[in-house]
Structure formats: C-alpha cells, structure tokens
Symmetry: C2
Subunit: 362 residues, 2 copies
DNA sequence: AATTGGTTCTGAACCGTTACGGTCAGTCCA
DNA sequence: TGGACTGACCGTAACGGTTCAGAACCAATT
C-alpha cells in the first residue's frame, strides 16, 4: 500500500491506456469520443477518485478564471451592513450568477496598504466599488491586464464606469429645499479622503476630496445654494470617517452646537441622516417643523421613517456593473452607464420656521 | 510595430538576460538576489508593462488559490436579504480577510442542477452553508480534494461542521411556552426539501426532511410537547418554500383558518414570525394577549418588535466556519463547533387566554 | 480502385509560474 | 594555501490541464 497521490488526468489516461486528450474530451467534449469509451473513462475516474480536471490548471490553459473580482476598500463589515453597498453587491452577484461567473471578494485590509491580494486574485476582471482616487489597491487593479469597471467612483480615464449623476441629483434636492425657503443650512458628509478628519471641513478640503461622489455632491450643493446668494464659505460642513448612524448623530450634534440657526441638515447619505434624526430628537427638535433633515440613497430604513432623500437604484447599479464587465469582449458596448435617480419627498422636510416662530412658537 | 503579446516572466528574463528564477525571486524572495538587480528587474517590468506573476499560473505551481469558496444553494437574493445569512456571510468574510484569503461566491443556479461551477472554482476549500442533505452541489464539493466545512446543515460523515444545537435551543423555547400554559400550538417552518410544498406537513415529511436544521427543530418541538401529552399528529405544521415575511403571513393565515383555537404560533425563523405577526395584526388578534408568536435567529428586525425568539450568534458562526476551514492543516483543530444560543423572551409571548376569556374577554 | 467524408483517437506544443538542487566566484579563517 | 562557507544566480522539471493538426480506420461514394 502506497501513499496515493491524487489522480490526475494523466494518471487516469495511463490507467486506461488512452491519451490525455481523450480523457480531457470525456469531460469537455463528449461528442469527440465514443459513448462507450466515455463511460469507461468516467467510471475509471470514479474508481480512482479523480475529481475531474483541476480548475486552476484549466484556467491557466484557457486563460479564463470564471470569476469576477470585487474590490472595496472598506472594512468588509461595511459592505455587509450598509444597505446601499449591500444592494450593489446583490445586483453584482445576480449578474455574475446569470453568467455563471463566480464573485471573488478581494480581501483588503483597510489599515495596511497590502496590495498583494489584488495580484493574487485569479479573476477575469474587476469591479471596483467606491474607492478613493488615490487608492493603491485601485492602482494595482488597473495594472493588471484584465477589464475593469468602476462603480460610483473614482472616474478614471479610459476605464468603464457605472454610476449616477451625483451633482444633478443633489441639485434637485437642494433646489427643493431652496424653494421651501431654506438658506441657512448645514451639511454632513462621508469621508473625503483616506485620512480621518472628523470635524468641520474647509472649502479647500471639499474641493480636493479624493472621493468623487462626495466631491460632486458638495459641489452640487455649493452651486445650488450659491445661485441664490448663499456664501458657501459660511456653510458648516461636517465630515465623518466612519459611515454609521452614530457618526451621523455626533456630526449633527457638532454642527448644531456650532450653529443654532441652521434650518436644514443635508446629509450625503441616508445612514448619516438617520443618525441626524436621532440627535434632533434627543435635542427636542421636531422634524420637520424645527429642522429639516435629508439623506441620500433611498435605503429601506430611511423610507420607513419617511426620510426626504434621493433614491438611487443600487441593485441595478451592481447588476449594470456586472453586465458591463462581462460584456467587455464586445467593443460596441457602452463605456459608461449613468443611472437615473429620483427625488423622494418624505416627511422630514418642510419650510423653515420664521425667526418669529423660532422664538415665540408657531 | 507588432501586436504586443503581454509580457511574461520569461520574456522579462530574456530581456534582462537573467533566468526566470531570478525574476521570480525578484517578486517573491527579495533576499535571493542583489538589491541592484532587483531594482533593474522591477524597472524593466514597469517598462515592459509586466504586471507581475500571473496569479493563476502561480496558483497552479504552488497549489494554493488563496481563496475560499462559499456554496449556498439558494437564490442569491436570499443570502443578501436574510439577516441571518448575511451575518454568517459577514463573519466568514471577516475570517477570510483576516487570513488574507479571498472569498469566492460560487454561482449556483437554484433551478438547474448545474454542478459545473463547483468544479470550475479555483479555491483552497469550501464552506457550505445551509443546503439540503441531497444537494448535488454539495456532492460536487465533497468530490473535490479540498477541505470543506459545513455550516448548520447537513451533517455529513467525516466533514467538519459549525452549528448550534437546534434541538436543545428550540426545546428551551418550547418548555417556556409549555410553562406559560400553551398546549394548542401551530408551527410554521421553512422548506423541508427541495420540492415546493406550501401547505400542511405530514409527520412523515417532517421526519424525512432534507434540511437537518428544520428537522431538528420540529423534532425538538415534538419531543417537548409530546412530553406534556400533546399529540403531535394533531399539531398543524405549515411549510413554506420561500423564506420571506410574506410567506410567514400566508402560512399564519392558512394555519389560523384551519385551527382557530391555536394559542401560539411557533415559527422556525424570525422572518416567518414577523410575517405571522403581520397576519395576526391584520386579523385583529392582539399579540401576546390573543396569540403568542415566536421566532428563531434573533435578527435586528425581530428585536425591534420584541419578538420572543432564540438568538444564535450568526456572525460568530460565519467566522468560526472560516477559521475552521483555514485551520485545516492543523490536525489538532476541533472537527466540530457548536455555538451557544440564548432564549430571548420578548413581548410576543404570554400565557394563553382561557376559554372563558376567549369568548367573553378578559 | 481510388476518393471522399466522418468518426475516433493521438502527439506534441503550450499556458506562466515556482520548487529544487545545483554552480560558481568570492570571502573568511586557520 | 586550502577548505568551508556564503551570496547570487541558474537549469531543469514539474504543476495539470487544453488545443490543434493530423493519423488511423472504416464506410460510402465515384
């Protein structure tokens, strides 16, 4: 009795006295050999415990891994807790499933800049979701000779992209608030760069933000409110590194502490807005009578509380990213997909109270 | 000008006039060559557009794919919508991330029995989550010569496993309801086999269920209630193929239509229980005064409404599965991990009304 | 009898890399 | 001066398949 080395296609062929080609054909091209021989091959395979052609060896030869890589430079918990990210993930997974492709989640340690995992991933292409412009992992992905689709951000020259028109979307929201009469606003946004900066944001930092999505939304707000004479340099903008309701709450607190006269809190995500709502409640501020709060994304929890927000088709975005990537062989495919968004007017927005009302009640 | 074939390690070596080994070492073992030469190699690589060693070829040679496969035989939307599955996924992802391993979601079309994707996945091991005993994909996974960990179900001889003690957990719950005085109960469970059977379940089907988890829970209930003289054959058990609140609601409706005297609805998942609560409300039944409803899992939405349930550590389960798999080289590791559960007494359970109360009010 | 066509199977090249066991020149030490 | 040791590099042999051009054979057609 000897140590049994796992059977290979070659050993199986030897056992049967046929060529490796024939064994290979038994698995991949049944029409290339007689049914009888094929039966024998398969039966012998079973007997020898041969599990079928090795996927890695096959991938090497065929130059196809049968999987799509997904890169997100966040703590993984983010992807599984943030409903927007989750919707994207689901859409992407559905697209992959539909094409029989695996979905390979690239392990990224957000702390360390270890790019090796990107180089180690045996995939036919990458989807990159919402990473900063200067992310080293993104650079590693782009250095690999496989098609890539970027979702949301960043915009990279010559790389396919799926996203929404962030600026237009938030402009619609801003215009609505302006129409309601809001001029004194505060903004709560997600992280703008890879460094942690939990606090107020200079206009300069806003403009040089490494997250295109956040940059666009802030720019949209600046444009809309600037058009009605609001001096953007005086608009308080608070940034939070972590994307959570707790962050939203603390940011709202920080902002309201600094500026009591704010009539509307515009948050660049629903999660942050939900936190802001909590903080407003804690302070005894009635929403929307005393304070308007808005979000961005259109997540179920936001809908539940009637949050005024911009709804974006997250699942569709993921699916589109997957389809775009998997259609990379087709030169006529679109290089960029911009999905529609929808302004959702909920019950968290209303005209601001007048100064009189603020002091003497409605 | 010729079509530039992508550079390989060999072409790079040729260009430099060194051996392939040396180029390989430049990437993998910097200490094996002089810093100067290494610099030249890397620089030439950049110049030639060589993206570093091909991951697939490397995997073939090293016999390591650097990824863990995850098999779940459900509509993928299930995995991304069911909070319990999601928690598992997150835990598993964290374990993988911690070990620098990718997580490869195997694309399974639940409709077709296409096992090819399992054979095509270049992974170092599999985690199988909650599939039926007789699942062909599971068989395909087991036929592959890589370590495998099964989560929740099924129990396969000689295969590592992570799970909870379903029977004990639900017995604790049942004992509690029994102590409260419930004898006339109804049960709503998830699918028991791969065929769709939306309706009442014979005892026979219960016992031959292909989902070990459901089988154990039903058996636990039968044992507990049998011990106090309840004739299990008369206990209505309703099965639903789809796991959704809508299913829970319709199952509750079907059950309450058939048996008005039921004082408690025991659901084998929180999702189903939430649906049952909706249906109870629709009928004007007050919970828990008129009807006790219980779940299983301990998901956030359940906690929010105060659902009486069994909480299981889903994230920890995922993490444990990952760790167990990644520790496969260690022969001293445990072969089976059973995690603790916790009975959560919420506000959806109370003593049953007496017959008098039922007719004349409390 | 020669040609054609079809089926079934084979041989050799190739996919791009890393493991393993060297070689070789130079240094150190007695 | 000679032997052991070290650092830097190389050659060969896998790793386990797929592919493609043909070989061999047989039956049917010309």
């Amino acid at each position: 009795m000897h140590v049994r080395r796992p059977a290979t296609l070659a050993s199986l062929a030897a056992e049967l006295g046929v060529s490796r080609t024939t064994v290979s054909n038994a698995y991949n091209r049944p029409d290339q050999l007689s049914p009888e021989l094929r039966r024998r091959v398969l039966e012998t395979a079973r007997r020898l415990g041969y599990p079928g052609p090795d996927p890695v060896a096959r991938s090497l030869r065929t130059r196809k891994a049968g999987a799509v890589g997904l890169l997100l430079t966040e703590n993984l918990s983010y992807a599984f807790r943030d409903p927007a990210a989750l919707g994207f993930l689901e859409g992407l997974a559905l697209a992959c499933e539909g094409a029989g492709q695996g979905l390979h989640l690239v392990p990224v340690n957000p702390e360390r800049e270890d790019v090796a995992a990107v180089h180690r991933a045996g995939v036919d292409g990458f989807v990159v979701y919402s990473v900063p412009d200067d992310d080293p992992h993104l650079a590693a992905v782009l250095s690999r000779p496989v098609p890539t689709v970027v979702a949301d951000q960043p915009t990279v020259e010559g790389v396919d992209r799926v996203g929404i028109d962030d600026k237009a979307a938030i402009t619609a929201l801003a215009d609505r608030l302006i129409a309601l009469g809001h001029r004194r606003i505060g903004v709560i946004c997600m992280r703008l760069a890879r460094d942690r900066n939990d606090g107020f944001v200079s206009v300069d930092r806003q403009h040089s933000a490494h997250f295109h999505v956040q940059r666009s939304r802030l720019a949209g707000l600046q444009g809309a409110f600037g058009a009605v004479g609001v001096d953007w340099a005086r608009v308080p903008v608070v940034e939070r590194f972590d994307h959570s309701t707790a962050s939203g709450a603390s940011a709202a607190a920080q902002l309201l502490d600094a500026d009591q006269d704010v009539t509307a809190l515009i948050c660049t995500s629903d999660i942050l807005a939900l936190g802001a709502l909590t903080e407003a409640k804690r302070r005894g501020l009635r929403v929307p009578q005393d304070l308007t709060v808005t979000g961005f994304d259109g997540i179920p929890d936001g809908e539940r509380v009637g949050l005024t927000t911009v709804r974006q088709p997250v699942l569709e975005k993921g699916r589109a990213a997957g389809k775009l990537l998997l259609a990379s062989v087709d030169p006529t495919r679109p290089r960029e997909i911009t999905l529609d968004t929808e302004l959702v007017l909920g019950s968290t927005s209303a005209p601001p109270r007048t100064a009189d009302e603020r002091w003497f009640g409605p």
